[in-house]
Symmetry: C2
Subunit: 358 residues, 2 copies
C-alpha cells in the first residue's frame, strides 16, 4: 500500500472508481477536478489503514448525495466538509481523525481525497460499499448491524442538517428529502464512528483496489483484457448501444439501456435496468447478472467505464460483471441491497454461478 | 395574569386559539385532548412572563408542523418533546427553562400546555406569531432580525432532525421537506433562545389573550357580539357557505370558500382565499381584509371558530376580521407575511382602514 495520494494518482483513482461505480455514483471527473485542486492547494493526502488509527479515533465517512445528473455540477470541496467537521466537534467534543469514502464507486470514491485535503486529514483505505449504491442505508455499516443513528448533511448554500434516524430506512427517506430541498445535492456524513467500530464493518483496501483497477489499463496492449483480468469479470456482451431511456425522478436517475451484440456477439441483445447504478442485466429474458454484483459498461476500445449519463446511441461498448464483496451476499446484505431491495422479483444468483464458473 | 393553566382553562384556551387560528393552525381539539391528559397526569402548568425568567434561561418555542388534514390525528405529546429537550441538552449543555408556543393560533396554541406538562416546565405567556401562519419563517423572531440558525424536529417514529439553516426561507424549505418525509407531521423547535433574546422578539401576553377570547363567549347572551367586541373585529359578512374548494398539496391545505349573505347581508358574496389559514377576503372584486390581519369564520349562533377543515356547505357563518400585531405591519413584517409573501399581488391595507374606521 502506498503512503499517500499524489497528484499523479488522481487519474488512476478516478478511472478505477468509475469502473466500480457501475454506471452511477456521480461523475468521477468532478471528483477528480476537486481532488487535484485540493492536493495542489493543501498537499498530498496520507492514505492510512484502520491499524494506523487509535481505537477511539473518529472516522468520518463522507459522500455526495443527489442525482448524478445534478451532482456532477457540484464539487462539495470548499466549505461543506468544514461545516460537517464543525458539527462533529460540537456533537462529539472532538474532531475526526480520518476521512473515509462512504462509496468507492464513482465521484464519491475520488472526491474524499479533496475533502480530506481540505480538512488536513488522512484518507482511510476503505469504504462502506465496495462499489456504488443509490440509497443511504445500503452501506456495510448497516449490514454489520451498526445503528444508523447519525447523519450530518451540508449543502452548497451553507445549511447543515443533523439527522438522528431510528433506522437506516428512515435515514434514507429523510436524507433524500433534505437533499431534494437543498437543490438535489449535498455532502453527507453517514454515521460517525470510531476506528474500533469500523473493524469488520467497513470494506478495507478499496482505495488501493480502485487505484489498481485504474492502473491495469495504463499502457496495456489490450486494455479490455487487462481490465477484465484485474476485475475477475465475466464479459456479458460486446456490441453497440441501440436504445436508451432515462429519466430523473425523486432524486434518482432511472432508465433502461439496450446493447445489441456485434462481432462474435452478433444477434444477441442485452438489456440493463438502471436506478443510478446498473442493477440487472437481462439477455433473452434470462438474468445474466444482478445487484449486488457489479455491472459496468465500458468503452470496448479504451476499457474506460461509461457512466449512465455518458451513454449515447451507437456507442461501441462491452458490458462486464463481477462478484461483489462477500458481505453483500449474506442474508442481511441481500435484504439491504439485493434485487428485491430495488423492486425486482428475482432470487439472487452470483454472477459467476450464472456464468457457469462456479 | 393567572399563575397556572388548570384543567378548567383548557376549553377556553382552545376556543381562543381556534379564533386566533384564522382557519388554520391545526385542529384545536387534538391539542386540548393532549393538554387535558398531560395536566391530569403531570399537574397544572405554571404560566410565566419573560420577567419571571433569568436572562440566560433557555426558552423552547415549540409547534407542530404539517398539513392540518394530517396533523389533527397526531398528538405530539409523548416522546417528541422529550427527544427535542434531550437534543437541546446535547447542543447547549443545559435544558430549556420554559416552553413557548411558536404559534398561538390553532392547535399549536393549546398543545404547548401538554408539551410543558410532559417536560415539567412552565409555559411562557407569549408566542411568535400572535395568530397562525403556514410557514416556518413567518415568526416574530425572524422579523425582529434574530438569525434562524437552529431548528430541531422530532416525529412520531422517533427520528430527530437538527437544522442549522442559513436563513428563515431555507429553514422553511428544509423543515417542510423533513416534515413530508416524516409522514407530514412533526414537532418542531424553531429557534432556541435565551429569555433576554426573547425580549422585543416575541409577542407577549398572547396566552392570556387567547384565554380572554375563549372566555368572552362563555354564558354570553349574544356570543357573536361579545366575541366581536373582545377582538375589536370588523364583521365582514353573515351568511351561509355556498361553495368550498379544498386540496392538500406540498404539505399545505389550500382552498377557496364562498359565503353568500343572508338577512341584512342578503345579495352580498364574500370569497376567502386559504393556504392553511384564511388569507384574503374579497367582496365584488374588492379586498376587505388581507393577511397579516386576522380573518376568522365563526358559527353565527355560537360564535365558535370554524377551521378550514370543518367548513361545510350550508353552514351559517359570520366572517370576522381584526388587526394583527403591529410587528406584522412593519416593512420587514409585511415582507415576511404580507399578501405578496403568499403570492397575492396586493398592497397591504389595514383592515380598519378598509372598513373606514381609521
Amino acid at each position: 500500500m502506498q503512503a499517500r495520494i499524489t497528484l499523479d494518482d488522481v487519474a488512476a483513482l478516478a478511472r478505477g472508481c468509475a469502473v466500480l461505480g457501475t454506471g452511477g455514483g456521480g461523475d468521477v471527473r468532478s471528483g477528480a477536478i476537486a481532488a487535484r485542486r485540493a492536493i495542489r492547494e493543501r498537499g498530498e493526502v496520507p492514505l492510512v489503514t484502520l491499524g494506523d488509527l487509535p481505537d477511539d479515533a473518529l472516522v468520518l465517512p463522507l459522500s455526495g448525495i443527489g442525482a448524478p445528473t445534478v451532482s456532477h455540477e457540484m464539487i462539495h470541496a470548499e466549505d461543506e466538509p468544514v461545516r460537517i467537521k464543525e458539527e462533529i466537534e460540537r456533537i462529539f467534543g472532538r474532531g475526526p481523525a480520518a476521512v473515509m469514502s462512504s462509496e468507492i464507486g464513482g465521484a464519491n470514491g475520488v472526491a474524499p481525497v479533496a475533502w480530506a485535503a481540505r480538512l488536513g486529514l488522512p484518507l482511510l483505505d476503505a469504504d462502506a460499499m465496495g462499489r456504488a449504491f443509490p440509497e443511504v442505508q445500503m452501506v456495510s455499516l448497516y449490514v454489520a448491524g451498526i445503528p444508523a443513528n447519525l447523519v450530518i448533511m451540508s449543502d452548497a448554500v451553507g445549511n447543515v442538517v443533523t439527522i438522528r434516524p431510528v433506522d437506516g430506512l428512515w435515514s434514507e427517506a429523510i436524507a433524500r428529502a433534505v437533499c431534494v430541498a437543498s437543490g438535489s445535492s449535498a455532502l453527507m456524513a453517514d454515521y460517525v464512528l470510531t476506528a474500533k467500530e469500523c473493524a469488520g464493518a467497513v470494506i478495507e483496501g478499496t482505495v488501493t483496489r480502485a487505484l489498481a483497477i485504474g492502473r491495469a489499463t495504463e499502457g496495456a496492449q489490450d486494455p479490455l483484457g487487462a481490465l477484465t483480468a484485474e476485475l475477475g469479470a465475466v464479459r456479458l456482451l460486446t456490441g453497440k448501444v441501440t436504445d436508451l431511456e432515462r429519466r430523473t425522478t425523486g432524486g434518482f436517475a432511472r432508465g433502461t439501456v439496450t446493447v445489441e451484440g456485434t462481432g462474435d456477439d452478433r444477434g444477441r441483445t442485452l438489456t440493463l435496468e438502471i436506478q443510478n447504478e446498473n442493477l440487472v442485466a437481462v439477455e433473452d429474458g434470462v438474468v445474466r447478472a444482478m445487484v449486488p454484483d457489479l455491472i459496468t459498461v465500458v468503452d470496448t476500445q479504451a476499457a474506460t467505464a461509461i457512466q449512465t449519463e455518458g451513454l449515447r446511441y451507437g456507442q461501441r461498448v462491452t458490458v462486464l460483471a463481477w462478484p461483489c464483496d462477500p458481505l453483500w451476499r449474506t442474508p442481511k446484505g441481500l435484504e439491504t441491497a439485493g434485487p428485491r431491495a430495488f423492486g425486482y422479483d428475482l432470487d439472487y444468483r452470483p454472477v459467476e454461478t450464472i456464468a457457469g464458473r462456479a
